[in-house]
Amino acid sequence: QKEVEQDPGPLSVPEGAIVSLNCTYSNSAFQYFMWYRQYSRKGPELLMYTYSSGNKEDGRFTAQVDKSSKYISLFIRDSQPSDSATYLCAMRVNYGGATNKLIFGTGTLLAVQP
Protein backbone atom coordinates (compact mmCIF):
# COMPACT_ATOMS: atom_id res chain seq x y z
CA GLN A 1 0.00 0.00 0.00
CA LYS A 2 1.30 3.42 -0.96
CA GLU A 3 1.74 5.99 1.80
CA VAL A 4 -0.28 8.53 -0.20
CA GLU A 5 -3.17 7.62 -2.50
CA GLN A 6 -4.57 9.98 -5.11
CA ASP A 7 -7.07 9.34 -7.89
CA PRO A 8 -5.17 9.95 -11.15
CA GLY A 9 -8.29 11.07 -13.03
CA PRO A 10 -8.59 12.49 -15.58
CA LEU A 11 -11.20 14.86 -14.19
CA SER A 12 -13.06 16.99 -16.73
CA VAL A 13 -15.29 19.87 -15.62
CA PRO A 14 -16.97 22.85 -17.32
CA GLU A 15 -15.63 26.34 -16.79
CA GLY A 16 -16.99 27.89 -13.58
CA ALA A 17 -17.47 24.57 -11.78
CA ILE A 18 -16.26 23.83 -8.27
CA VAL A 19 -13.49 21.23 -8.36
CA SER A 20 -12.74 18.87 -5.50
CA LEU A 21 -9.40 17.04 -5.42
CA ASN A 22 -8.53 14.56 -2.70
CA CYS A 23 -5.78 12.45 -1.20
CA THR A 24 -5.73 9.82 1.52
CA TYR A 25 -2.70 8.73 3.46
CA SER A 26 -1.67 6.00 5.84
CA ASN A 27 1.20 7.53 7.86
CA SER A 28 -0.26 9.23 10.93
CA ALA A 29 3.07 11.02 11.46
CA PHE A 30 2.46 13.35 8.50
CA GLN A 31 2.05 16.88 9.82
CA TYR A 32 2.66 19.14 6.83
CA PHE A 33 0.42 19.01 3.76
CA MET A 34 0.91 20.71 0.43
CA TRP A 35 -0.76 20.99 -2.95
CA TYR A 36 1.36 21.55 -6.03
CA ARG A 37 0.15 22.34 -9.56
CA GLN A 38 2.13 20.97 -12.47
CA TYR A 39 1.59 22.03 -16.05
CA SER A 40 2.61 19.64 -18.79
CA ARG A 41 6.39 19.16 -18.97
CA LYS A 42 7.01 21.75 -16.24
CA GLY A 43 8.12 21.57 -12.62
CA PRO A 44 5.57 21.53 -9.75
CA GLU A 45 4.44 24.93 -8.44
CA LEU A 46 3.40 25.28 -4.78
CA LEU A 47 -0.27 26.27 -4.38
CA MET A 48 -1.15 25.66 -0.74
CA TYR A 49 0.72 24.74 2.45
CA THR A 50 -1.09 23.59 5.60
CA TYR A 51 0.18 22.49 8.96
CA SER A 52 -1.85 19.86 10.86
CA SER A 53 -5.66 19.86 10.64
CA GLY A 54 -7.94 22.66 9.49
CA ASN A 55 -8.79 24.83 6.51
CA LYS A 56 -6.77 27.38 4.60
CA GLU A 57 -8.09 29.68 1.90
CA ASP A 58 -6.21 31.60 -0.77
CA GLY A 59 -8.30 33.28 -3.44
CA ARG A 60 -10.22 30.63 -5.36
CA PHE A 61 -8.36 27.80 -3.59
CA THR A 62 -9.24 26.15 -0.27
CA ALA A 63 -7.21 23.37 1.34
CA GLN A 64 -8.69 21.13 4.01
CA VAL A 65 -6.91 18.63 6.23
CA ASP A 66 -8.72 16.02 8.36
CA LYS A 67 -6.02 14.15 10.27
CA SER A 68 -8.56 11.95 12.07
CA SER A 69 -9.64 10.52 8.70
CA LYS A 70 -6.18 10.84 7.09
CA TYR A 71 -7.81 12.78 4.26
CA ILE A 72 -6.90 16.05 2.56
CA SER A 73 -8.76 18.05 -0.06
CA LEU A 74 -8.22 20.96 -2.42
CA PHE A 75 -11.23 22.92 -3.65
CA ILE A 76 -11.07 25.22 -6.65
CA ARG A 77 -13.95 27.68 -7.04
CA ASP A 78 -14.97 29.25 -10.36
CA SER A 79 -12.58 26.98 -12.24
CA GLN A 80 -10.90 28.42 -15.35
CA PRO A 81 -9.36 26.74 -18.41
CA SER A 82 -5.99 27.99 -17.12
CA ASP A 83 -6.48 25.70 -14.09
CA SER A 84 -6.07 22.70 -16.41
CA ALA A 85 -3.02 20.89 -15.04
CA THR A 86 -1.97 17.98 -12.85
CA TYR A 87 -2.52 18.58 -9.13
CA LEU A 88 -0.15 16.79 -6.77
CA CYS A 89 -0.67 16.41 -3.05
CA ALA A 90 2.50 16.15 -0.95
CA MET A 91 3.16 15.48 2.71
CA ARG A 92 5.99 15.23 5.16
CA VAL A 93 6.62 14.42 8.76
CA ASN A 94 8.46 16.61 11.22
CA TYR A 95 11.90 15.07 10.91
CA GLY A 96 13.19 17.10 13.82
CA GLY A 97 15.43 19.34 11.81
CA ALA A 98 16.99 16.63 9.70
CA THR A 99 15.40 16.54 6.28
CA ASN A 100 12.42 17.96 4.42
CA LYS A 101 11.67 14.91 2.27
CA LEU A 102 8.26 15.12 0.60
CA ILE A 103 6.00 12.15 -0.16
CA PHE A 104 3.82 12.81 -3.21
CA GLY A 105 0.60 11.36 -4.51
CA THR A 106 0.43 10.25 -8.14
CA GLY A 107 -1.30 13.47 -9.19
CA THR A 108 -4.80 14.14 -10.58
CA LEU A 109 -5.08 15.42 -14.16
CA LEU A 110 -7.70 18.19 -14.35
CA ALA A 111 -9.19 19.56 -17.56
CA VAL A 112 -11.47 22.61 -17.39
CA GLN A 113 -13.54 22.89 -20.55
CA PRO A 114 -14.38 26.42 -21.83
Binding site: V4, Q6, P8, Y32, Y36, R41, K42, G43, P44, E45, L46, Y49, L88, A90, N94, Y95, G96, G97, A98, T99, N100, K101, L102, I103, F104, G105, T106, G107
Partner: protein, 113 residues
Protein backbone atom coordinates in the same frame (compact mmCIF):
# COMPACT_ATOMS: atom_id res chain seq x y z
CA UNK B 1 14.52 37.04 -9.05
CA UNK B 2 15.53 33.91 -10.91
CA UNK B 3 13.94 30.70 -9.75
CA UNK B 4 15.54 27.28 -9.62
CA UNK B 5 17.41 26.53 -12.83
CA UNK B 6 18.34 23.12 -14.19
CA UNK B 7 20.46 21.97 -17.08
CA UNK B 8 20.23 20.44 -19.53
CA UNK B 9 16.53 20.62 -20.41
CA UNK B 10 16.52 17.36 -22.29
CA UNK B 11 19.00 14.52 -22.53
CA UNK B 12 19.10 11.28 -24.48
CA UNK B 13 21.48 8.51 -23.38
CA UNK B 14 21.91 4.82 -24.06
CA UNK B 15 21.90 2.00 -21.53
CA UNK B 16 25.11 1.69 -19.54
CA UNK B 17 26.14 5.32 -19.99
CA UNK B 18 26.64 7.88 -17.25
CA UNK B 19 24.78 11.19 -16.87
CA UNK B 20 25.29 14.37 -14.85
CA UNK B 21 22.41 16.75 -14.16
CA UNK B 22 22.91 20.23 -12.74
CA UNK B 23 20.85 22.52 -10.52
CA UNK B 24 21.23 26.10 -9.31
CA UNK B 25 19.01 27.00 -6.34
CA UNK B 26 17.23 30.26 -5.73
CA UNK B 27 19.69 32.91 -4.57
CA UNK B 28 20.12 32.66 -0.80
CA UNK B 29 18.77 29.11 -0.57
CA UNK B 30 21.14 26.64 1.04
CA UNK B 31 19.31 23.34 0.53
CA UNK B 32 18.80 21.35 -2.64
CA UNK B 33 16.70 18.21 -3.04
CA UNK B 34 16.46 15.89 -6.04
CA UNK B 35 13.33 14.01 -7.11
CA UNK B 36 12.62 11.53 -9.91
CA UNK B 37 9.23 11.73 -11.64
CA UNK B 38 8.33 8.83 -13.90
CA UNK B 39 5.57 9.54 -16.41
CA UNK B 40 2.15 9.32 -14.77
CA UNK B 41 3.57 9.23 -11.23
CA UNK B 42 4.33 11.75 -8.51
CA UNK B 43 7.91 12.79 -7.78
CA UNK B 44 10.00 10.43 -5.66
CA UNK B 45 12.66 11.73 -3.29
CA UNK B 46 16.25 10.84 -4.21
CA UNK B 47 18.56 13.10 -2.13
CA UNK B 48 18.66 16.22 -0.02
CA UNK B 49 21.75 18.35 0.59
CA UNK B 50 22.07 21.20 3.04
CA UNK B 51 25.23 23.22 3.53
CA UNK B 52 27.07 20.71 1.32
CA UNK B 53 26.16 17.73 3.53
CA UNK B 54 23.76 14.92 2.69
CA UNK B 55 20.66 15.23 4.85
CA UNK B 56 18.48 12.55 3.35
CA UNK B 57 18.54 9.70 0.87
CA UNK B 58 15.60 7.96 -0.75
CA UNK B 59 15.25 4.34 -1.81
CA UNK B 60 17.46 4.49 -4.88
CA UNK B 61 20.43 2.27 -5.82
CA UNK B 62 24.04 3.30 -5.35
CA UNK B 63 24.20 4.14 -9.06
CA UNK B 64 22.66 7.44 -8.00
CA UNK B 65 24.92 9.97 -6.28
CA UNK B 66 24.92 13.70 -5.73
CA UNK B 67 26.93 16.52 -4.29
CA UNK B 68 26.53 20.18 -3.41
CA UNK B 69 29.13 22.82 -4.12
CA UNK B 70 30.23 25.82 -2.00
CA UNK B 71 27.95 28.09 -4.06
CA UNK B 72 25.04 25.73 -3.14
CA UNK B 73 24.55 24.47 -6.69
CA UNK B 74 24.25 20.71 -7.02
CA UNK B 75 24.91 17.81 -9.36
CA UNK B 76 23.06 14.52 -9.62
CA UNK B 77 25.03 11.68 -11.16
CA UNK B 78 23.60 8.41 -12.43
CA UNK B 79 25.90 5.57 -13.51
CA UNK B 80 25.17 2.50 -15.62
CA UNK B 81 21.89 3.88 -16.93
CA UNK B 82 18.90 1.55 -17.26
CA UNK B 83 15.80 2.00 -19.38
CA UNK B 84 13.84 2.51 -16.15
CA UNK B 85 15.87 5.61 -15.33
CA UNK B 86 13.97 7.49 -18.04
CA UNK B 87 12.12 10.21 -16.15
CA UNK B 88 11.85 13.90 -15.35
CA UNK B 89 14.49 14.77 -12.76
CA UNK B 90 13.42 17.65 -10.56
CA UNK B 91 15.53 19.84 -8.34
CA UNK B 92 13.94 21.74 -5.45
CA UNK B 93 15.57 24.42 -3.36
CA UNK B 94 14.69 25.68 0.10
CA UNK B 95 16.11 28.31 2.38
CA UNK B 96 16.92 25.91 5.17
CA UNK B 97 17.43 22.20 5.52
CA UNK B 98 14.20 21.19 7.16
CA UNK B 99 10.70 22.47 7.76
CA UNK B 100 10.94 24.84 4.86
CA UNK B 101 8.99 25.32 1.63
CA UNK B 102 10.53 23.70 -1.43
CA UNK B 103 10.50 25.43 -4.80
CA UNK B 104 10.93 23.26 -7.86
CA UNK B 105 12.83 23.85 -11.05
CA UNK B 106 11.54 22.96 -14.53
CA UNK B 107 13.32 19.61 -14.50
CA UNK B 108 15.61 17.69 -16.83
CA UNK B 109 13.90 15.12 -19.02
CA UNK B 110 16.16 12.07 -19.38
CA UNK B 111 15.46 9.44 -22.00
CA UNK B 112 17.46 6.21 -21.90
CA UNK B 113 17.41 4.14 -25.09
Amino acid sequence: DAGVTQSPTHLIKTRGQHVTLRCSPISGHKSVSWYQQVLGQGPQFIFQYYEKEERGRGNFPDRFSARQFPNYSSELNVNALLLGDSALYLCASSLLGAGDTQYFGPGTRLTVL
